[in-house]
Amino acid sequence: MRLYEYEGKILAQKVGIPVPAGKMVDSPEKAREVAGEIKGEVVVKAQILLGGRGKAGGVRFASDPGEAEKVTREMLATRVRDRKVEKVLVEKKLEIVEEMYLGITIDEINKRMILLAGKTGGVEVEAIAQKPGAGFARALVDPFIGVPGFRAKELAKHLGATDKGLGALGNIVSRLYALVQKFDASVAEINPLVKTKDGSYLAADCRVEIDDDAIFRQKELESLGIFPREERGREPTELERKGAEIDRVDHRGVAGRVVEFDGDTALIIGGGGASLTVFDAILKYGGKPANYCEIGGNPTVRKLQLLTELILSKPGVKRLAVVTNVLSNTRVDLVARGVIKGMLNRGLDPRNFPVVFRVPGAWEDEGFRILDKYGIKYFDRTHTMDEAAQYICQMGRS
């Protein structure tokens, strides 16, 4: 779960990382108030879950409370990087002399957390960090030791700190790792980490991602006003929201994580890897998916039924394909029951509406009996998912 900048800064403060004076607000009036408290020039920053705000007009300056109000009003009325702006962060404008990068993320090859310290901060650091000679220092973290003081000092030195700055910057390095440990973050980035005219170091921006699988034990987040939410690359559609509700009906199995597309072929596909494979194959053979929806983990009949009803409710859907890999634990017969019930509830006769199954594996004999009874065309395990995809793309066209 990616946090907003202001949320990340709440966590940063919790572990003692200095951040600029400021506050998140959701109205122009409150922005004026906060700017008045801060005194002097402020910066108004759109709170969206995407980088690259600066270039997109999501970071603007204001010299007095009146201007802060005006800027906020404008920002709340526009979209930044195609996201609705509902909140802004009003902060004291800093007198920056240096911008750096400090981040911690997971190194999936070394299977450790890795610290990354770069002499250039600001946007597009991902691209720069890959290039050799870009001034980035890396340090893997032993989970049983953490970040020793000397390592933090080395990285501070690499970033150009001297004198008292060495301790101050070293502290930020240690504390960023403390944040990661305390809040189960999978990514924590200060970009830019800035040095101001008076020689102090602050987190000018802060990007934190909390490990979705650890949210169950991060009760403190809620007390800090940070609540679990679903993460996507864009805002969910109505259909997607309803799908998520179906998935929540019951903890058994996955069925309902829907991503909507604008085609005419409704898909129920699984499991994780197979759904990716099937989707590719359907695109390759000229099909137009109405949705992506993965099933797995032996979902209940009811979840499958509701899901079928939902994806068939999309206007313009002309056919339905149910395709999975050879199943080990999800049951063919239960999938067949759920899908058929869903079709009937939508008033669709499986004999007339174009529908095809390629769902072999556990309890397939029972499943095939059900499909036979309702006159549904199916492929067994001697036919690949690619063959099924080709068939689907022809189905109901003639």
Partner: protein
């Protein structure tokens, strides 16, 4: 031969009294694997399908001489269970549990490194070596012999379901599997391609390796860099989820399937694989054809009688015995 597990593998199931474990334990036993003990704290003295249950791994190892583990416990307890197995010297440890916090995974993997044991997963369906009737986990469900015929193709898959699907395809095409591994669908897993490939290189019974890959992360990139100069056998790879390239930031399928700016796209991974001599097929149905072609090319090049060996692998059942005979005194099962 096989890698990771063989007929000498004595399996301990952690969480054996759970619903899922009760099912796959029976499936493993029916298949012919040696399940020797179970662990569920507080349930010592019980039996599951006749297998004795212990409170601790320590006792289970002492009494039943277990040497490998399957871990199927809820996510909040998985780290401790895996560390307990590692402490007991069990290897490999197949961790089937999904949704374990990453911080826990990093710690348990570091602990396994310290103890010199290998973790498969988490979020893995396990591993299977058909000629040895050895299986850790639930690959193939209650009739693994349908999808996994004994043979000479190694399989490594980021997806559990596709591990079975790809093996089924290879078996249908008249070939068979030496060892198939579900690597696990998470971004951090105990063992990656780099941990398995040296074992496949050393295993004389593995003639080629098939990979099921997905978008996201850098595991394939690192493998592509490693292969030249280290791996001499044919490799065929397929990427599921090519469409994800065009949808950065969106998550599909597994937790690790997300394309970020500048990394994870299948088109880049495909290019790197091709540069490393890996054959990347466009549709997975083409895997058997690509395997045949590459194995034939290899025969031409090396002059070795690999095609003969491949032919031998076709009638799966009678062959299994022969392989067993020659499979003695091999180190891969124990080697980490």
């Amino acid at each position: 031969m096989s890698i990771l597990i063989n007929e000498k593998t004595r399996i301990l199931v952690q969480g054996i009294t759970g619903r899922e474990a009760a099912t796959f334990t029976k499936d493993m036993m029916d298949y012919g694997s040696k399940v020797v003990a179970g662990v569920t704290p507080g349930k010592q003295g019980q039996k599951v399908h006749g297998i004795p249950v212990f409170d601790t791994v320590k006792e289970a190892v002492e009494k039943q001489k277990a040497n490998a583990a399957v871990v199927s416990v809820p996510p909040a307890f998985a780290k401790d269970a895996v560390m307990e197995a590692a402490d007991g010297g069990l290897s490999p440890i197949a961790c089937l549990t999904e949704r374990i916090p990453k911080r826990d995974v990093i710690e348990m993997v570091a602990y396994a490194d310290l103890k010199g044991v290998k973790i498969i997963g988490p979020n893995s369906p396990g591993v299977i070596s058909p000629a040895k009737k050895a299986k850790l986990g639930f690959l193939g469900g209650n009739n693994p012999e349908r999808a996994f015929r004994p043979g000479h193709i190694g399989v490594v898959s980021r997806s559990g379901g596709m591990c079975t699907e790809v093996a089924n395809l290879i078996s249908n095409a008249g070939m068979g599997i030496s060892t198939a591994i579900g690597m696990g669908g998470d971004s951090v897993v105990g063992s990656t391609y780099l941990d398995y490939f040296p074992l496949f290189e050393q295993d004389p019974e593995t003639h080629a390796v098939v990979l099921f890959c997905e978008p996201g992360g850098t595991k394939e990139d690192v493998l592509a860099e490693w292969i030249p100069g280290h791996f001499t056998k044919p490799v065929v790879a397929f990427f599921g989820g090519k469409f994800v390239d065009n949808m950065p930031g969106m998550r599909f399928g597994h937790a690790s399937v997300i394309v970020r700016p500048g990394s994870g796209a299948t088109k880049d991974k495909t290019r790197l694989f091709q540069q490393a001599g890996v054959r990347v097929v466009e549709v997975y149905s083409d895997i058997p054809k690509a395997l045949r072609e590459m194995l034939q090319e290899r025969v031409k090049k090396s002059g070795k009688a690999i095609s003969a060996a491949r032919k031998k692998s076709r009638p799966a059942k009678p062959q299994a015995k022969k392989i067993k005979k020659t499979g003695k005194a091999k180190k891969a099962g124990k080697k980490r």
